[in-house]
Symmetry: C2
Subunit: 355 residues, 2 copies
DNA sequence: AAACAAAATCTAAACGTTTAACTATGTAAA
DNA sequence: TTTACATAGTTAAACGTTTAGATTTTGTTT
């Protein structure tokens, strides 16, 4: 079953190898009886064309390289899942290359930005060494990685991260609108003293999310007091400390928007530690909808990034580009959505509204 | 950079293609000056050998296929991470194929056992279609999948799952000893009325873990009362219901061993709902050390499977087999270890021991 | 200097496909 | 009847390597 070649099939069917090839690929018409004869031999012998030889001849590997920064990052497996789902119905395969960056990082976000050399090198390897037709680069943070992608003559799609380079394609997710939406949700629930626990403030998602917050505040005619914005570093601990400092300040918030679930959970730790209740005394919302948000108690209200769609779309663009059905500059931003759970309470101030 | 061939290098260096090949692969001695000349041209031009052509000629793809049941399963990414880590220092690549089984399953464990046909088909595709040199099959449950792996003439290593077929290699993890160890830990903490919330009782891990529990009980001269063993189905809900039924029974346990973290967390839900405290009134231990166990409150004491090692070892075996440095039947069982957190309390019965 | 052996290098076939260019066959138009 | 022209099929060259086996070069021994 393994070592049958097209010549064996041709001989057994009494035709030339070209005819067999035409039958297999449907590239040229073949008389029905001969077609059947060839097909019969193929099924009888279980022949499968040698893809390596095909690739050599056609200069196409039918393989898409996926370069992931770290498969252990929570956002990466769902993205790969989305890619797989799209790819499954094509004749492409996936070559996976894991940079395993988490292993080599202390402060995860800040250092990762400077890993350009390694990324560049692995990408060149994928394209010119492993001979993939296209590359999907799966970042682990939402950030601009334009400086890091080498200029190659094959499609490169960035997933999750973004690129400010005009010609680079990416598929990322929405931050600003969803943040505004969450704020509106808190405001509509009667909250006015809302605090924000930000991620590292110089990072794109932190900036975009803050912009969303500000927009919602403006729309509601509220003012976002600077004392109500604390800067964390995306980790649980920082959420805890930011919240502690908020609790110790002059005007305590009645609601907190932490820019990711980890910090939100840290904030909940601090609130509980202070003997207060979530959401009884303070409402909390996070961002990411990580598994943890369902296991923490009470369950965390948060925002969900449609990671699977990011992967699916990236794969689709890659394949379309390979089939020349798409030569635009694709810059896709997948909408995020709220997932309502148990950490937000309606602020009981109806008497005010009725007055 | 992309389309330079070995012939171009040969011409530029004034040697034959054979000599260039010998220099690149070190397969035959080449005079130092010529060697340098060739190397210079290669670095100057950035030439990279065409791996497709190499594969066609040598009949080796230097690619290991990974067939995963579902990349979304919590155990899979760390296994891939381990595989990557080993592979990184070899000249092999990874072709990933995700069966995405979770998507198509209602009751996850029971149905997955019957997915044999799809597995078989994808494996054949990987080996004979995609032309990989070896396959690592990454299961999502610890179970015997021997019936499902077709007989092919290339190395197949099973990771996480196992095989009862004598000739199949696998790398899995330890259940029985670690379960006994956890029991001993509870017993040493003074617990005697210990309940067990089992996973689906006909599954290998449930059976092995129960055996460990029984062993520890016997060693301690205790008897495991049948009423103290409840059968769950690995999901959170079932842990909750099992615990409720335990709490409503005649002799309430002072400690519970849930056979995975999800059920342990469900049990904690029930305990808290009953107005009791963990671990104040009832101690709880889980299994898997999933992320959730750090986010639940109090943090869950549990057992950790060394998933990364499973992947690492599987990759190592695969590569060794490809280099003919290993032709044994590898059946590796990676030890698991306890991770102590906050859900177990020493039972205050010192007065009894002192009496 | 000749004869031989060893080492270095080269030539060309092979790996298994695809496909351009050619040939053979049948059909319609002149 | 010839000519033109689709249509179906074949031949053989490529794709870019590796590697036997042939050949040349170098070194050693007489």
């Amino acid at each position: 079953m393994a070592d049958i070649t097209i010549r064996d099939i041709a001989k057994a069917a009494g035709v030339s190898t070209a005819t067999v090839s035409y039958v297999i690929n449907g590239t040229k018409p073949v008389a029905p009886e001969r077609q059947k004869r060839v097909l019969d031999v193929i099924t009888k012998t279980g022949y499968l064309p040698n893809t390596v030889a095909q690739s050599l001849r056609t200069k196409k590997t039918n393989t898409i390289g996926i370069l992931v920064e770290d498969i252990l990052s929570f956002s990466v497996p769902p993205i790969i899942n989305g890619i797989s789902e799209y790819i499954e119905n094509t004749d492409y395969r996936i070559l996976l290359n894991d940079l395993r960056m988490l292993n080599s990082l202390y402060n995860r976000y800040d250092q990762i930005v400077h890993q350009g050399e390694k990324i560049n090198q692995e990408l060149m390897f994928l394209v010119y060494g492993a001979k993939v037709d296209a590359v999907i680069y799966v970042g682990m943070f939402d950030r601009d990685i334009s400086g890091v992608i080498p200029n190659i003559n094959k499609p490169v799609i960035i997933a999750y991260s973004t690129s400010e380079d005009e010609h680079t394609c990416f598929v990322t997710y929405e931050n600003e609108n969803i943040s505004a939406e969450m704020m509106r949700y808190l405001i509509n629930a009667g909250h006015e003293k809302i605090a924000v626990i930000s991620g590292l403030e110089h990072t794109p998602p932190a900036q975009q999310r803050l912009r969303g917050v500000q927009r919602a505040f403006e729309e509601a005619g509220l003012l976002l007091d600077n004392h109500m914005v604390k800067n964390g570093d995306w980790e649980r601990d920082s959420g805890y400390h930011c919240m502690k400092s908020l609790l110790g300040s002059a005007h305590k918030p009645t609601a907190v928007f932490a820019m990711n679930d980890l910090m939100a959970i840290g904030a909940m730790d601090a609130i509980k530690e202070a003997g207060l209740s979530v959401p009884g005394d303070i409402s909390v919302v996070g961002f990411d909808n990580r598994d943890a948000s369902e296991f923490v108690s009470p369950k965390l209200t948060t925002a969900e990034i449609d990671l699977k769609s990011i992967g699916y779309n990236a794969a689709q663009i890659a394949v379309e580009k390979l089939k020349s059905k798409n030569n635009g500059k694709n810059k896709i931003i997948i909408p995020s959505k709220m997932v309502l759970r148990e950490t937000v309470k309606k602020q009981s101030c109806e008497w005010r509204e009725q007055s």
